[in-house]
């Protein structure tokens, strides 16, 4: 750069910079060597059977080595340098715009003559929109419509309650404070029909609050939270409260599963219970309301869609 002989102070500064660069280059070289060793170590670990923690550590060392080397190279060997770029306004000049517009108008004008241009463009837009819509319609194939499906479950009058192993249940099998997940016979594991059979404490159940008939001190509710659909999995027997672990909606089983606290907006639907000829618990109809999280039309024609009144035993 400078051809003149350096003065003392300049020479000293250059020497120091030179030293710093040498040091940087050494550190960078060592870092790259470490990365190479770690990379081979990684291959060795993998070939000899693999070990997650060691692999992660070696990957860290290998990439960390490369990163250190590159960083030191940039900061110490190349050193700081600042450049200044010119910035131009983010718009075309008026002249450019005018020229573009003129060229555009001219070419379109030549392609489509006179007053027919607007007419054609409108029809083209119409064709494009119609075609777009036609191409969207097959999205309907993605799934069936909800129809009345969301109002009904597998439960119907006379269907036995069974536990997760498929065994039918007698009322006397369920003691106070006991909770069982139950399903309709032949539909064990059914996501929508899942229900909780609860043995309440004597004299705690408020029958007037229940939406449907039940057997003794037993009561059965849908296990799907009416808030966001999680299984209502926790039971606090001392107070007779069902709690949903997702958002802590709490339902009072003795009061028709009314919401005590939490974000759920309505009680858990109840399953009416009865006993069949052989003494096993059966449903005497479907749930008292649509199960699961609420949806917009759940109160419309609900009686007929739930099929209640016709299946009452």
């Amino acid at each position: 750069m400078a051809s003149a002989e350096p003065t003392g102070a300049q020479a000293e500064a250059w020497r120091r910079q030179r030293e710093q660069q040498d040091r940087g280059a050494r550190v960078a070289a060592i870092s790259f060597v470490v990365a190479i060793i770690a990379a081979f170590g990684l291959m060795a670990v993998y070939i000899s059977g693999g070990q997650t923690q060691l692999e992660g550590l070696l990957l860290f060392i290998a990439f960390g080595g490369v990163g250190t080397g590159l960083g030191v190279w940039g900061k110490k060997v190349v050193g700081p340098k600042i450049v200044v770029e010119e910035r131009f306004p983010h718009r075309s000049t008026e002249q450019d715009r005018d020229e573009f517009e003129a060229a555009y108008e001219e070419s379109l004008g030549e392609a489509i003559i006179g007053g027919r241009r607007r007419f054609l463009l409108r029809l083209l837009a119409g064709a494009g929109a119609s075609l777009g819509l036609a191409l969207l319609v097959p999205l309907r194939s993605l799934g069936p419509g909800p129809g009345g499906v969301m109002f009904v479950t597998e439960w119907e009058a006379g269907r036995r309650l069974v536990d997760a192993n498929g065994n039918p249940i007698r009322p006397e099998d369920v003691g106070a404070d006991e909770v069982r997940t139950v399903f309709p016979a032949d539909a064990v594991g059914d996501a929508k029909a899942q229900a909780l059979l609860i043995g309440t404490r004597p004299d705690q159940l408020v029958l007037d609050e229940l939406a449907a008939e039940t057997v003794d001190t037993l009561v059965c509710y849908s296990k799907i939270c009416t808030h966001a659909g999680c299984p209502v999995g926790l039971y606090r027997a001392s107070v007779g409260e069902l709690i949903c672990p997702c958002h802590q909606s709490t339902f009072d089983v003795n009061q028709g599963a009314e919401v005590v606290s939490g974000p759920a907006g309505r009680p858990l639907p109840q399953l009416p219970l009865g006993i069949d000829d052989e003494g096993y618990l059966v449903a005497t109809g479907g749930f008292t309301a649509p199960v699961g999280p609420s949806f917009w039309n759940m109160t419309r024609d609900v009686e007929s869609r739930l099929g209640r009144g016709t299946q009452e035993s």
Partner: protein, 467 residues
């Protein structure tokens, strides 16, 4: 020129470069990019961390996809993990277990992938805060801000769909909640939910639909928007912090080559290094402990990944308001999850224009950044919004916090509800006051520049390189 060329050794790279240049005319166009200016401040690198996390996600994700089976059909587990042997599990969950226990380096890849997803969203948010508080979104960069918010939304979508793929009990629960929110949308919700999942939850098509969204649709969107984001960045050039050299009509920074190239590659290597360490040493999402998804099982406490915490907090804080108006039921998840979420993101999308009208109050081009103190109102609003998000985020684990504090859950929830209305204004006002007093105690660099320019008769202070 020719003298130096003949002295230099002709390496293979020289030959390749010449070969390419003779076909693509690269040298003349690329020359100026060697000296392209990159602002040297660390806060300009946050977006790059997101970029490199995405690179890690694409590579590890491809590896995972080679072993993953998007199938809900049940199989009997007969792998090495003893507690689940003989269990009836879905093929998807089975393939996740196989990947974790039997594929060499499979668990490492899965854990790096999950950690990278968390870091990806975190880096996007940090980058966004930098852009917000320094006013980098102002004209002419409104478009890139909008694309950035779109990228954040897609990152959420990618995270949520990916989280659901292992088909374990925890992820199934998260999916159930998401589906319930969709069902609750008036008029179109049930149909939309049925179309998304191919029928009623949990349908047999659910996993394969999520899989296609996660590995194809969402990454395509991410990469498309990212390409636009970067192209606009290059076209408009960087903003820069006020300094002696920086003006509205120049860009001051390190040259792209070699300084910034080395810095960027170094940062990329470190990002990958840290993600590898996290993936290797810190267990994340041990799906084998959760068990296969059964719609009638659940465990507590159940929480989503951090970036979904705000939706969780919102639905937990929202009161049990469920109305039926003219026969249309409005479920209690609709307003917090869809309504408030919609308001938050609409505000974010529209922020450059809101700022233009009420906060920054001008429609001029801005390339010199502000510091948070330079616009106290924007800083105050930003801090208030962050505080609100923090309270909501905390509410997302109110059950865990309540039991740790031995405090009633209802009491805590009510405290947090009040905090939602009380803390943000206080924090925002404090930030506003702090910005004002910091401003009062100094002459801002922008004003210094203006004064210096006045003093020197507006003379330019640097020799600018021609483009």
């Amino acid at each position: 020129m020719s003298a130096t060329q003949t002295r230099r050794r002709q390496s293979a790279i020289d030959n390749l470069a010449r070969w390419l240049d003779q076909r693509l005319d690269l040298a003349s166009g690329s020359k100026k990019y060697l000296n392209k200016a990159f602002p040297a401040h660390w806060s300009f690198l946050l977006g790059e961390v997101a970029l490199f996390s995405l690179v890690v996600l694409l590579f590890t994700g491809t590896f995972l996809a080679l072993f993953y089976t998007p199938d809900a059909r049940t199989v009997i587990y007969d792998g090495p993990y003893a507690p689940l042997q003989g269990a009836e599990i879905s093929a998807a969950y089975n393939s996740t277990l196989r990947l974790s226990f039997e594929v060499r380096a499979g668990l490492l890849m899965r854990q790096i992938h999950h950690w990278a997803a968390l870091v990806f969203v975190a880096a996007i948010v940090a980058h966004m805060l930098r852009v917000f508080f320094t006013g980098a979104f102002r004209k002419p960069r409104e478009l890139n801000w909008v694309i950035g918010v779109g990228l954040l939304l897609l990152a959420f979508a990618a995270g949520f769909t990916g989280y659901s793929l292992p088909d374990d009990l925890l992820s199934g629960t998260g999916l159930r909640i998401g589906y319930s929110v969709v069902l609750g949308i008036p008029f179109i919700g049930p149909l939309l939910g049925f179309l998304l999942l191919g029928g009623e939850y949990p349908g047999t098509d659910t996993i394969s639909r999520l899989h296609i969204a996660h590995v194809m649709l969402i990454p395509a969107g991410l990469l498309g928007l990212l390409g636009a984001h970067l192209a606009i960045l290059i076209r408009q050039k960087h903003t820069h912090k006020p300094s002696k050299l920086a003006r509205e009509d120049n860009v001051v920074g390190e040259p792209l080559f070699p300084s910034q190239t080395l810095t960027t590659l170094s940062l990329g290597a470190f990002t990958i290094a840290v993600l590898s360490l996290l993936g290797g040493l810190f267990e994340i999402n041990p799906v084998w402990l959760y068990g296969t998804y059964e719609p009638y099982e659940v465990f507590a406490p159940a929480q989503p990944d951090w970036y979904m915490g705000w939706t969780e907090g919102l639905v937990r804080l929202w009161p049990a308001w469920e109305w039926t108006v003219f026969g249309v039921t409005i479920p209690s998840t609709l307003l917090p999850a869809v309504g408030i979420g919609g308001v938050i993101f609409t505000t974010m999308f529209l922020w450059p224009w809101i700022d233009k009208k009420w906060v920054g109050r001008d429609d001029l081009e801005h390339h010199l950044l502000e510091r948070p103190r330079d616009n106290p109102l924007r800083t105050g609003i930003g801090v208030a919004a962050l505080t609100l998000m923090a309270v909501i985020f905390v509410a997302g684990s109110n059950d865990v916090i309540a039991s740790n504090l031995t405090m009633g859950l209802q009491t805590l929830t009510n405290v947090l509800r009040v905090a939602c209305f009380v803390l943000p204004p206080i924090a925002g006002w404090l930030a506003y006051r702090m910005a004002r007093s910091l401003q009062a105690s100094e002459v801002s660099p922008l004003e210094q520049k203006a004064q210096a320019a006045d003093a020197s008769g507006g003379a330019k202070t640097s020799e600018a390189e021609p483009r």
